[in-house]
């Protein structure tokens, strides 16, 4: 009897060694390895990480608005630096949150080719990859407008771009490539996206081919490659040229006339906003800009409203948000304007006039709309650029990119001025402050070269 029990005891004590299956249980049910195409899609379908928190500080520094002295006082310091062009690093979130997105897209770009298909198809795999390429390319383009010097076609020697993080390997050191290499990478990514993305997707948060073309149109405009910019803008408009007719909107209605994901939106994204500067009750539209709207311009009453304190705020954001202008995606009106501008620059005056009239027809009160026409290329270009200001000023980064780009041309140079507490602050054309300083902690830990 005793021996049997001793034997049993020994078996009991020592016989529990085959237990690896027992230990393979996930410690947390929500933990999952990134394995299938579904998993990769889930990463790029994350709206918080893919469609929100785009850069914002460039809008603090642009000329389409001003702040009352009290509201400048009320800003936090980094907001004040950006607004008054003080050469100090501004909000690190511009950098941090956007490089989180770049990591996410890198994980997808790196792993998607080997992902298990599961119950998905190859076209889903292509879409996941296309979405990642699009987001990475678009993010880099927006970030470069802050932290890389303005791109000047054929004259970028010695200029540094921003880190492009070629892989998801976190051990890899960040380096600043040349400005040209940086822009080449954006181009490569956006072209790759345009080849991979489907024509239609479920919602405008999920970019489609049209969105990639639109981003390419913006990209080539920024890099002053007007032929390609025109070609991509034209492809977009041929695919879908639908605009909202502002005549059908009611300026007296409370709330927004421009719901989220409205039909003019090509790709939906929003920017971060940390000092609350984009709030409709704070940012006052620049007087010069406000005066550029004719009386019968419907945008004047649909975009702007008088705040209780008598000053005019912007209420026309395309993201369905009335209280602050945070739309940072691409809408179709921009494509019309890119097509028109490039056509004008390329000497296709008829096309330019045609595009600008198509847009204006939906913006000017019925009955008062008159067809614009001119045979003078400079006149047409100036008209288009003015229309661009009227239409796109409060769209994240667009005005800033335009200022950087247009200052390169003698005829469009603009000095911008602000005043605060009796002191006048100016930003001269092509000032080094058109390139923001990289946040301190990035420079010190990542050992990156700081901007001037």
């Amino acid at each position: 009897m005793n021996r049997i029990i001793i034997l049993l005891a020994c078996v009991g004590v020592l016989g529990l060694s085959s237990c690896n299956g027992f230990l393979d249980v996930k410690p947390d049910s929500s933990l999952a390895l990134v394995k299938t195409v579904d998993d990769y899609l889930a990463i790029v379908q994350n709206e918080t990480r893919m469609n929100a928190n785009y850069p914002f500080s460039y809008d603090y520094a642009s000329d389409f608005f001003y702040l009352s002295e009290q509201n400048i006082d009320a800003l936090d310091e980094t907001g004040r630096y950006a607004y008054l062009w003080i050469a100090e690093p501004c909000h690190a979130n511009n950098w941090n949150q956007n490089y989180v997105r770049i990591y996410d897209t890198n994980v997808v770009l790196q792993g998607i080719d080997h992902a298990e298909l599961g119950n998905r198809t190859e076209s889903d795999r292509k879409m996941a990859k296309g979405l990642a390429a699009f987001s990475k390319g678009f993010t880099l383009m927006q970030l470069a407008a802050l932290y890389a010097p303005p791109y000047e076609r054929g004259n970028n020697m010695g200029k540094l771009g921003i880190p492009i993080r070629p892989s998801a390997n976190i051990e890899e050191k960040s380096v600043r490539p040349s400005l040209d290499d940086c822009y080449k990478e954006m181009e490569r990514l956006l072209i790759m996206a345009s080849n991979l993305l489907p024509e239609y997707t479920k919602a405008k948060t999920i970019s489609n081919q049209e969105a990639a073309w639109a981003a390419l149109a913006r990209f080539y405009l920024v890099t002053q490659n007007y032929e390609k910019a025109f070609a991509y803008a034209d492809s977009c408009l041929q695919f879908n040229g639908e605009l909202i007719d502002y005549n059908l909107l009611d300026p007296m209605a409370s709330g927004t006339q421009f719901p989220i994901l409205n039909k003019e939106v090509v790709f939906h994204a929003t920017k971060g906003d940390f000092s609350g500067i984009s709030s409709s009750s704070r940012a006052v539209v620049d007087n010069l800009l406000y005066n550029k709207y004719a009386v019968d311009d419907l945008r004047k009453s649909l975009f702007y409203r008088k705040n209780v304190d008598g000053v005019v705020g912007f209420y026309g954001s395309y993201d369905g948000n009335v209280s602050s202008a945070v739309f940072s995606g691409i809408a179709r009106d921009e494509i019309y304007l890119i097509a028109a501008e490039c056509a004008a620059r390329l000497g296709k005056l008829d096309t330019a006039v045609d595009r600008i009239n198509a847009l204006r027809e939906k913006r000017i009160a019925k009955g008062s709309f008159t067809v614009y026409n001119s045979k003078d290329p400079d006149n047409v270009l100036r008209f288009v650029l003015e229309e661009r200001e009227r239409e796109l000023s409060f769209r994240a980064g667009i005005r800033w990119m335009d200022l950087r780009r247009l200052n390169l041309e003698e005829r469009f140079k603009k000095k911008i001025i602000r005043s605060y507490k009796g002191k006048v602050y100016t930003l001269e054309p092509n000032d080094v402050r058109y390139t923001f300083k990289i946040p301190d902690e990035i420079v010190s830990i990542g050992k990156l070269e700081q901007n001037q």
């Binding site: 029990i5 230990l23 393979d24 709206e47 919602a203 927004t256 705040n307 010190s444």
Partner: protein, 1054 residues
């Protein structure tokens, strides 16, 4: 030669000198352990008369002396003649607090303290029961050296043994063992009255048997059990405590009047313009600002406004809180236990009922706990133990507590006590008119909320143990143990239509069109519920070998395996349009994006809550522990253990963690050469070994975390990438070396235990600096090494021993650590981490400051140094990239490095008084101060009272350090000052925290065996001495101190 009899109390029946000794033991047969040297057991005989067995043994001829020794009793040496003179009746005196009588439970074995080589403290039942408190762990405060509570979070749940050994706060707690198994449940479910004693396993030799989870030390809680051969006994305990309201005025802040002056100033500066003109979100505008605005617009006469404002100046919300949110708390604890034991079985049953009526009105808890233990010995070979514990606790939490975002002159109730509305979320002038009378009332009445909320949590726990021991052969036994536990929590929060949250949500989802109202969210209440369940199975097999091989050799060893499986499941859900009477809920459209009423928010769908989560914990262990004693003088021990758990994605190599320890002990006083008349006992010990910490929450591979909801816009499933890859993830390792001495002097009137230890914790999971460009703020990796040194001292003395007695126990500890490896440069002074900024070569909980260089004599602006020059460039002074570690001032630790606790007790004829004096030294805290950026904004919080002491005129800098007011405020100017050395206070202090007075009359009654009546005063917060001149209590800094409580308790034994 000497003969050792280890017998409790016995009658010598007959004795013939040099030949034969017969005796009868008065010990119950089962509890009796008799150890005879083998040479004497020859001829050992045993027979029984009608009473108890009679033992007899042959004594060798040359034996003149007999040593009588028994655990828990003073030994006695008598010659056979002396025994005869005493008519054969030998009684041993009871020993108090001597090493030999202490039995330590490690959770795997129970061994007498003299056989352990480790640093172990035992908190005896009588000490434990003299503490008051509903919490099991709280009662440990001040009872063992090296056991400390980190009170930085304002409560006493974070306890450490010998300081911190890890940098992850979630695992920075000792392993708690209940009887035999690790206890992971809610410790509050255990009734402290059920606890017999607590052993603290502090060093490697003691704790290493618990292996990979023992890195922070081990607390072994032993519950009360029945005993064999005992008549029925009943114990009844009742305590009633009254708890004071907290002192709401403790934290200094400016008066309502000053707050209003500041509002008037800001109004003139136009700070409120944006809010006043905001016609989208309609933020709160305080009554004073409304009045000022009305005057400005000409809608109100200035004199009326001033009169009204002056009324507001006299209100202080804290008075209303005190009156309407708080009350005196009353806690009751009642406990009855019944036990009895026969020859072959014993049984114990205990029932406890606690009722806590919180100081917060409408919050209370009722708890019932039942515990029963059985032991059954069907034969000499088999012993079976069973235990069952059930607890049932229902808590109501209906008090919203102090309101956030509320101005200091708000009132909760009118003159007659009727509830008043306070501003919440939206401007009142807006909500009063916007609904055209159709919406639900949009105002917020905090007092109504208290009365009408229904927020309850029911927790039920059941723990079932079963174990069997089979004695195989001469000291070899086999144990099987199994424990099942299930903990269930049900939380229900019903918010009827009368509550603000519900009305607000319904209003926001309402649409008024052409004077008619449609509800996109059904009217009726909102019911939130969450249920969680945790089921654990633990199973152990163990082979023990405990034997005295001759009078020289003793062996205690065990070998075993353990499995552990814990599964947790939780579900959160919500119902709308819920009617609590009919138990009906309504169908809701969760898909459509509805516009918010008047576009107060962007369009949204009805918040959907239905979420399931689960987690699992698996562990497999093999362990060995062996101890060998030679002549009771030299003891050696060794342990080895291998653990594996379900760390996620880890290489198998890293999954298993082997751990070991060795220890040695020399009982010097057993040596023949030891003749120190004033010293009774001298023991030297040393040990070295490894234990570990496991953090299952950190995965090794890149994982994604699927969100339970669809994405808000595209309505697609989505996931977050949640961690950086970390292929080298492994267990944390704590190596500890300990040397200790135990000594008693002057016939045990003084006893001393002194331990020195040195811990090296390697592979600590810590945040490493990351280049943000990688997408990560930091990497969580095994990257830290922490070296800790410390001393634990226990000195127990009986100072006066006459008709009155004075006992004083001094516990002291010193603990100091240093980060030896850390791949992190300091990122920020306010890293927001629990383990405030650790820097290499500094302690883990270090306090650093910017160097304050006084105030500018002309402007009152705070100054610092940039490159050695005075500077007011606050960006440079606070920039994380510009300020280097060497620019900062190091102040020391934020947790005490020295603890001392002196427990005095005086006894006189059944009256006992206990006073606990405790001291904490060698640390600092940072006090709050004025933040102008916060004060000069539209925020609603009242500014810190330092405002009153600010620099106002040149010359003020001579007697104040508090910067001048500057408008507009610079947040970095505030921050520089707040984080400078000007706000550091030394926290060293000595306090008397608890006092108790007890009376135990001598009982002559046949039925009542003992009575004890006790009065406690806890949390006296009486500071005897403090180093800082500041008024704050260093134990609580800026947190409101725990309020005093008074307890009356009685204890009867029948």
């Amino acid at each position: 030669m000497r003969l050792v009899l280890i017998v409790f109390l016995f009658n010598i029946i007959s004795i013939a000198e040099g030949s034969h000794l017969e005796f009868r033991s008065h010990m119950p047969e089962k509890a009796q352990k008799m150890l005879f040297p083998p040479s004497t057991t020859e001829g050992f005989s045993q027979h029984q008369d009608n009473l108890k067995p009679i033992y007899g043994l042959r004594i060798p001829k040359d034996t003149a002396l007999l040593i009588f020794r028994r655990l828990g009793y003073m030994s006695d040496t008598l010659s056979t003649r002396q025994i005869i003179e005493k008519n054969g009746e030998v009684k041993l005196k009871v020993l108090s607090q001597k090493m030999e009588d202490i039995i330590i439970s490690t959770g795997y074995q129970k061994i007498p303290k003299y056989q352990t080589t480790g640093a172990v403290d035992l908190v005896a039942n009588k000490d434990y029961e003299r503490q008051i408190g509903t919490g099991v762990l709280e009662r440990m405060d001040g009872l063992a050296a090296g056991l400390t509570f980190d009170r930085r979070k304002g409560y006493m749940k974070d306890l450490q043994i010998r300081g911190y050994s890890t940098m992850t706060s979630t695992i920075a707690k000792p392993l708690i063992i209940m009887d035999n198994f690790p206890f992971d449940g809610d410790i509050e479910a255990i009734n402290p009255n059920d606890i017999e004693n607590v052993s603290l396993l502090k060093d490697a030799a003691a704790a290493a048997i618990w292996g990979a989870r023992a890195g922070n030390g081990v607390l072994v809680i032993t519950t009360k059990k029945g005993k064999m051969d005992r008549p029925m006994a009943v114990q009844w305990n009742s305590n009633v405590s009254i708890i004071d309201k907290p002192d709401l005025f403790y934290s200094p802040r400016v008066s309502s009047s000053q707050f209003i002056d500041n509002e008037i100033f800001l109004f003139e500066k136009g700070v409120f313009n944006a809010n006043l003109s905001n016609n989208t979100k309609r933020p709160i505008v305080t009554p004073v600002v409304e009045l000022l605005d009305a005057v400005k617009k000409g809608n109100l006469n200035e004199a009326d406004a001033i009169a009204q404002i002056d009324r507001y100046r006299s209100y202080d919300l804290r008075n209303d809180y005190d009156r309407y949110l708080y009350r005196k708390g009353i806690n009751q604890q009642h406990y009855i236990a019944l036990q009895m034991g026969g020859q072959k079985w014993n049984n114990r049953l205990a029932i406890g009922w606690d009722r806590d009526v919180s100081v917060l009105k409408a919050n209370d808890q009722n708890k019932l706990s039942i515990r029963t233990n059985q032991q059954w010995q069907p034969s000499k070979k088999i012993e079976i133990q069973m235990g069952l514990q059930y607890s049932h606790a229902l808590a109501h939490n209906n008090n919203p507590g102090e309101l956030t975002s509320i101005y200091p002159y708000a009132r909760l109730a009118g003159a007659n006590g009727s509830p008043l509305a306070v501003d919440n979320l939206y401007r009142y002038s807006y909500i009063d008119t916007v609904g055209q009378g159709l919406l639900m009332d949009w105002r917020y009445y905090p007092l109504n909320e208290i009365q009408q909320r229904d927020n309850r949590t029911l927790r039920r726990n059941i723990i079932m143990d079963i174990g069997a021991t089979y004695n195989l052969w001469k000291g070899l036994s086999f144990d099987l143990k199994y424990q099942f536990s299930r903990q269930v929590g049900e939380h229900k929060k019903y918010q009827s239509e009368d509550l603000f949250y519900t009305r607000d949500l319904i209003n926001r989802f309402s649409v008024i069109k052409n004077g008619t109202l449609t509800y996109n969210l059904p009217k009726g209440g909102i019911l939130d519920y969450d249920n969680d369940e945790s089921i654990s199975h633990q199973f152990r097999t163990q082979l023990n070998f405990n034997r005295v091989l001759s009078d020289k050799h003793e062996v205690q060893s065990l070998l075993g395996t353990e499995w552990r499986k814990i599964d947790n499941n939780a579900h959160i859900g919500r119902s709308y349009g819920y009617n609590d009477d009919l138990k009906l809920s309504s169908q809701v459209d969760y898909v459509t994006l509805f516009p918010n009423f008047d576009n107060l928010y962007s369009s949204m769908s009805v918040p959907f809550m239905d979420q399931y989560t689960s987690s699992a914990d698996r562990m497999v262990s093999f362990f060995f522990n062996g101890g060998y004693s030679y002549k009771k003088r030299y003891t050696f021990s060794a342990s080895a253990r291998r653990d594996a758990s379900n760390l996620f994605g880890v290489n198998t190599n890293n999954r298993w963690k082997p751990l070991w320890s060795v220890g040695g002990k020399w009982i010097v006083n057993q040596e023949d050469f030891f003749h120190v008349p004033w010293m009774d006992q001298l023991v030297l010990r040393t040990s070295y070994g490894h234990s570990g910490n496991v953090n299952n929450a950190v995965p090794a591979v890149v994982t994604i975390d699927y969100n339970s909801f669809l994405s808000p816009l595209a309505r697609l499933p989505y996931a977050n990438l949640r961690n950086a890859p970390n292929p080298d993830l492994r267990w944390e390792d704590v190596a500890q070396w300990n040397i200790g001495v135990d000594a008693t002097f002057l016939k045990n009137r003084i006893s001393l235990t002194l331990d020195y230890y040195n811990k090296t914790s390697t592979d600590l999971i810590a945040n490493e600096d990351a280049d943000r460009t990688t997408g990560f703020a930091s990497f969580t990796r095994n990257s830290g090494t922490l070296i800790t040194k410390g001393i634990d001292l226990t000195l127990r003395t009986l100072i006066v021993d006459r008709t009155w007695k004075w006992k004083a126990d001094l516990l002291g500890s010193f603990n100091s650590n240093r980060m030896a490896v850390l791949n992190r440069t300091r990122t920020s002074l306010t890293a927001g981490e629990f383990f405030v900024p650790p820097a290499i070569d500094y302690p883990m909980n270090s306090m650093f400051s910017y160097r304050f260089a006084g105030l500018n004599a002309n402007t009152g602006a705070p100054q610092g140094f940039v490159n050695g020059e005075l500077s007011e460039d606050y960006t440079a002074l606070t920039s994380t990239s510009k300020v280097k570690l060497e620019d900062l001032i190091y102040h020391g630790s934020v947790v005490p490095r020295y603890y001392a606790n002196l427990r005095n007790s005086w006894h006189y004829k059944g009256v006992e008084m206990l006073v606990n004096i405790s001291g904490k030294f060698g640390y600092v805290y940072r006090r709050n101060t004025i933040l102008y950026a916060q004060m000069l904004s539209t925020g609603l919080a009242a500014a810190h009272a330092d405002y009153e002491k600010r620099w106002q005129n040149p010359g003020d800098e001579l007697h104040t350090n508090i910067p001048s007011l500057q408008y507009p405020a610079l947040a970095s100017r505030d921050n520089f000052y707040r984080l400078s050395d000007a706000t550091i206070e030394p926290a060293d202090h000595i306090r008397i925290q608890d006092i108790s007075l007890a009376y135990s009359p001598v009982m002559k009654s046949k039925y009542i065996k003992a009575v004890r009546i006790q009065l406690f005063v806890n949390n006296l917060n009486w500071i005897v001495w403090k180093k800082s001149k500041n008024e704050l209590d260093p134990l609580f800094a800026d947190n409101t101190p725990i309020a005093r409580s008074y307890t009356l308790g009685c204890n009867f034994q029948f």
